[in-house]
Symmetry: C2
Subunit: 417 residues, 2 copies
């Protein structure tokens, strides 16, 4: 019995899932509908069955495990996360929420029997956007928040369309809208933080209050290249010097703005990029995130006004192109956050409210039902990397908080949430 | 006679040389010892012969045209420049000094007969360092300023060694030191400015006072990459933000230093270079030039001290590696500069003293004999490009000043310079 118990612990299931899709370059690669993905969803379905749950797979490949409630009319209480990974990703991102969800339902069934409200755990087929130029293929279809118009023709790096990939995995491409659900009362997601705030603040549980919106731009600067030896400093129109001024300003302005705003220049290309030639052109990426769309808007407006003035001073031109704009999620449910805080206190777990700069399935559910999200620490804040690590005790605490919240929502609450 | 006169004008010879080594990608490519180079040196030899000069070719392929003086014991007055180009270079860089030198000697022979001092024009085989990882193969061997230890084994991009390339062009590799000359009294080089100082200052002639020294470094910054969404600004160790601060400081410090100091960051690479990942590592190139080695030394010392402090503030590490260090040339000869200024005034040409941020053959001669260098304007300061352009009037004025100085040195001066 012990062996079986271990295998159905969150940690045991995580270990099993981590062995599926091991990448020769390190870490785990499970892309939507690829062989490793199929193997992983089959393993999840088996784990759900072993946990005593009724398994079903929807039109896009989301796998559900259900523990039916006595009130069969009431919409479900759902937990879960995504099974796909980035290229060479870690073993916790996504998988933790699935494994802990199965473990929670297994434990609740064992200890408390049939719930009043139906409890479900879901393994979403896709969230990362790693294979095709779209993301949230799982929760986007389930919530109906993403229409995915024309997405079936999107192609991966090998030129395979989503349509072909679906068909190859045994799904009917045209049927993807059938995966939409309207009978979900609440969604709760356990996930690793993927940052280092909990670690720095020495808190064991993060209670997410909002999932940030983000904008991504390319900023193009055009100056004039020239001979590094023969062009005096005052006569230069150095695109990189101008870009450096902007990057310094961005960091300073983001630090001063505080309140969780982040601004990142992650990619920068210099042309011609030769040591003894003054850079004529620079293109850099700009990623801005905050929980409040108005704050993002105001920050970008100030940045671009500042950039224009800097460009004039440097005798270069500047132009920015927005290529991604994701609005912030609605706030997480206040009642659920309050319950989570009380559960942590009763359990002796230190906790704090936290914003999520990364996108999550819970962000989409927050638009359609009461939603909560629980973070556990990521060592050194590392994620999307084979080095991703969350300690077993943190996994246990996260799974415990999740189980207790699901118990309250499905077993205790008289009224429907 | 007109046709022949035109052909032996500086402009006529430049046009002929520009047709040798035309690159399919634009501009001119003549690499040391390649077919275009051989064709060009043969054309130069023919032009010299047509100008009535005695032609000789030395052990490394420098081509000389000589107009023997009555004082056959006295060391020569030499003018010239280099025949090789950068990849897709312009028609003036190097070639102008050769063409104008041949034209000057032709004109002096025609108008004034045999000089007292022997006059020579030289077409140096190599200066740019375009083919092999070495430069000044022409003037370096002639002056003996460069020992080229082990250089014969240097290989080009195709894996061909300098030794093989020499042999292929009909030269004896081991004999390269035989090209050394010790009987040169003065060297005068006419060259395009390759910058925009003359154009901006609206002067027709630049009288070079010094050829700058230069140092080149790679600066490596190591921070910590992280998720752009989940890492709060105060917790970041962003290598690019640190680099940007350094680049802003470099520009400001170089502008404040003034006095011709130039500092350039021409190449910058970000790792991992992904829009939503905080840069963990940055490597950038740093090119510092000034006429005074002590100024370069002091500037670099201050820069690296400043970088260390910035790195600490940004929680990154910084390390710089010097990969090129060329000391400044000795000052150009004061007497020759004074002669050039008087020639310009007598001829009604506006002029100014000017430093050269680019290296030149004259910089090596300045270590061994009295040396002067004359600049003519480059349109928009553009060089090392098919767009390189100097107006015919500017070429005429430069050639005229060169001719008049050579006349004074070879015909008028009683004492040996």
């Amino acid at each position: 019995m012990k062996a079986r118990g271990d295998r159905l612990s969150a940690a045991g299931m995580l270990t099993e899932l981590a062995a599926i899709g091991e990448d020769p370059q390190g870490g785990i690669t499970r892309f939507l509908y690829d062989p490793a993905w199929r193997q992983a969803q089959q393993a999840v379905a088996r784990m759900m069955r072993e946990a005593g749950l009724a398994v079903s797979i929807d039109a896009v490949g989301n796998v559900y495990g259900k523990l039916e409630g006595t009130d069969r009319e009431a919409p479900s209480i759902v937990t879960g996360s995504h099974i796909d990974t980035v290229k060479c990703g870690g073993r916790y991102d996504g998988a933790l929420g699935i494994a802990a969800g199965i473990a929670a339902l297994a434990k609740l069934k064992r200890s408390s029997g049939q719930p009043r409200r139906t409890l479900e755990v879901v393994s979403f087929c896709e969230e990362e956007g790693s294979r095709f130029p779209l993301a949230y293929w799982g929760s986007g279809n389930v919530t109906g928040c993403k229409l995915f118009d024309g997405s079936l023709d999107a192609v991966d790096a090998q030129g395979i369309s989503l349509r072909e990939a679906m068909a190859g995995a045994g799904y009917k491409p045209a049927a993807h809208r059938a995966s939409r659900r309207t009978n979900i009362a609440a969604f709760v997601e356990l996930h690793i933080e993927q940052g280092e705030v909990l670690e720095r603040e020495q808190r064991q549980i993060g209670i997410v209050d909002a999932i940030y919106g983000q904008r991504r731009y390319f900023v193009d600067i055009a100056g004039r290249s020239g001979h590094a030896g023969t062009t005096p400093m005052p006569l230069r129109a150095d695109a990189l010097a101008a870009a450096a001024n902007m990057i310094v300003w961005l960091r300073k302005a983001a630090l001063e703005a505080g309140d969780g705003l982040v601004a990142t220049v992650g990619k920068l290309e210099v042309s011609p990029g030769i040591p003894n030639v003054i850079p004529g052109n620079v293109r850099y990426s700009l990623d801005i995130r905050h929980r409040d769309e108005a704050v993002i808007e105001a920050f970008c407006a100030e940045a671009f006004q500042t950039f224009a003035a800097m460009a004039e001073k440097h005798r270069v031109t500047v132009q920015q192109t927005c290529w991604l704009s994701e609005p912030p999620s609605p706030p997480m449910d206040a009642g659920l956050k309050e319950r989570l805080a009380r559960i942590c206190e009763a359990s002796g777990y230190s906790h704090m409210p936290i914003g999520s700069g990364a996108g999550h399935d819970a962000g989409l559910f927050a638009r359609t039902c009461r939603t909560a999200m629980i973070f556990v620490p990521s060592r050194d804040g590392i994620s999307h990397s084979p080095l991703e690590y969350t300690a077993p005790e943190d996994i246990e605490r996260g799974a415990d908080v999740l189980t207790k919240l699901l118990y309250q929502l499905a077993y205790e609450l008289a009224e429907r949430v």
